[in-house]
């Protein structure tokens, strides 16, 4: 269950020297600077960092929606890719659920399949078994505006999972949920991940969440966004909720917090000087 380091298979995703600079009216903003990441098949990697550290920019590039500066190298399944070539190849779940209010739950879930040109009947057949697993059975014919925040998020996740791609990007999927719902959803997500054997890259600003979910935690710095720390999480799976208070967990958390703290102070000083 621990990462792919033990296998000889090439990493599923390898980023080298990935930078992204925005030219705004007020000058250049370096959002990402020389990011290097390797993610193995079936791995659950979490990215944690202060707001404005370029996490979402990184995801937009990986989803094919934005282009990195020249010089970046993206190897996806061992093949070099330009960012736009990744469109349609990575399952991307943005921060907001972005459910379409005119589509019922089931039609929202099968949206990516329809984009692929799969007939509705066939798409429905594929979606059917997932409703129970995603805690949505009985709500197939509801409209998104009739659902709670947690349920909407599960519909969005189901939509992402139905778009079966080698890599799944989740951008703070539980950010807007209350603490109780969030912890339930985390355990549920781990369960789903283990059953479906997906490779997940997961953004969060919650340190507990990053450690609890990840095989590895990447800590990012803000402006320019860099990878400050790569931390392996050797905690056994399945992980019970009590683990959050175990000494091993606390020790890991201390390391992550120390790295973030240093950064926050730095960026705070930048603002103060600014």
């Amino acid at each position: 269950m621990d990462g792919p380091a033990d296998s000889a298979a090439p990493p599923m995703l390898q980023l080298t020297n990935l930078s992204k600079t925005f030219d705004s009216g007020h000058g250049r903003l370096v959002a990402l600077e020389r990011i290097g990441i390797e993610i193995g098949c079936g791995e659950f990697v979490t990215v944690v960092g202060p707001s404005g550290c370029g996490k979402s920019t990184l995801f937009n590039i990986l989803a094919g929606l934005a282009e990195p500066d020249t010089g970046a190298k993206i190897l996806y399944n061992g093949e070099p890719r330009m960012a736009p070539e990744l469109l349609g190849k990575v399952a991307f779940m943005p921060q907001r659920d972005l459910l379409l209010p005119w589509r019922r739950v089931v039609d929202n879930a099968i949206l990516p399949l329809q984009v692929e040109g799969i007939p509705r009947a066939e798409a429905l057949k594929r979606a059917q078994p997932l409703f129970v697993e995603f805690g949505l059975s009985g709500f197939e014919r509801h409209y998104p505006q009739q659902l709670s925040g947690g349920m909407r998020q599960r519909v969005a996740l189901m939509r992402t999972f139905l778009f079966e791609r080698d890599l799944t990007l989740l951008d703070e999927p539980f950010g807007a949920l209350d603490a109780l719902t969030r912890s339930l959803m985390q355990r549920w997500l781990l369960d789903i991940w283990q059953r479906h054997q997906r490779t997940i890259l997961f953004i969060t600003h919650d340190v507990d969440e990053a450690i609890f979910l990840g095989d590895r935690v990447l800590v990012m710095t803000a402006r320019p966004g860099r990878i400050k720390l790569v931390l392996d999480v050797p905690l056994a799976r399945p992980r019970p909720p009590e683990m959050l208070t175990s000494p091993e967990f606390i020790a890991l958390k201390r390391q992550v917090l120390a790295a973030i703290e240093e950064e926050s102070i730095k960026s705070f000083q930048q603002v103060a000087e600014g």
Binding site: N60, A63, G64, L65, L87, G88, K89, V90, F92, P94, R96, L98, L100, P101, W102, L111, P112, Q114, V115, E116, Y143, Q145, F163
Partner: protein, 244 residues
Amino acid sequence: MRALSLAVAGPLLMVLLWEAIVRSFGVPVYVLPAPSAILLKTWADLPKLLDGLSMTLFEAGVGYVIGSLIAMVLAVLFILYPRLERVALPALVAMNSVPVVAFAPVALLWFGSGPASKIAMVTMAVAFAVFVNAHQGLRSVDESAANLLRSFGAGPLRQMALLRLPAALPSIMNGLRVAVVRSMIIAIVAEMLSAYKGLGWTIFEATQQVDFLRAWAAIAVASAASMVWYGIVNWIDQRFVFWR
């Protein structure tokens, strides 16, 4: 139910007040006839009025449908081909700022006094109204939702069908609603300028013949038809654009 009865109560009260004022002050018919008199006249002249109405509705309806279709096609094309939009949009905006009625004499010259000239003018007025709303709606789609579809591999056409068109429906329906009133106004005004038939023509002819009651009856029929049509579009809007 209560909202409905209140909505009916307002106009009813106004009509009653109107009736009371006309009766108690003895207002002459050429200034303002009583609602009851208009109603009786409408009933007496009904076959002729309906004949006029069918012509006006035909002109307004055909123009409405053609104009809406042109507007939708244009709006979609402009979104799919931004270069086309950059070339054509300024010209359209310039044309739109000239009131359509100003083109009436030209339309009559080109298309004659029959229904064709009215249809042409209604088409133009409706096309502008619907286009402005549809274009706005198609444009102002949530960028993140469009990006989500792109990440699923959706090209511009799929984005149009699955996201932009449905997301723009509320704006499109607004345009279609505004266009109802516009098309009735344009058809009636154009008929007043020159026509063989129609409610606008009836109103014009009646005032020329000092038959004010008949003019008012035609106005009443035109208003009623306009309200029913508006109501239908409104109902379609509420029924199918339930998520707004």
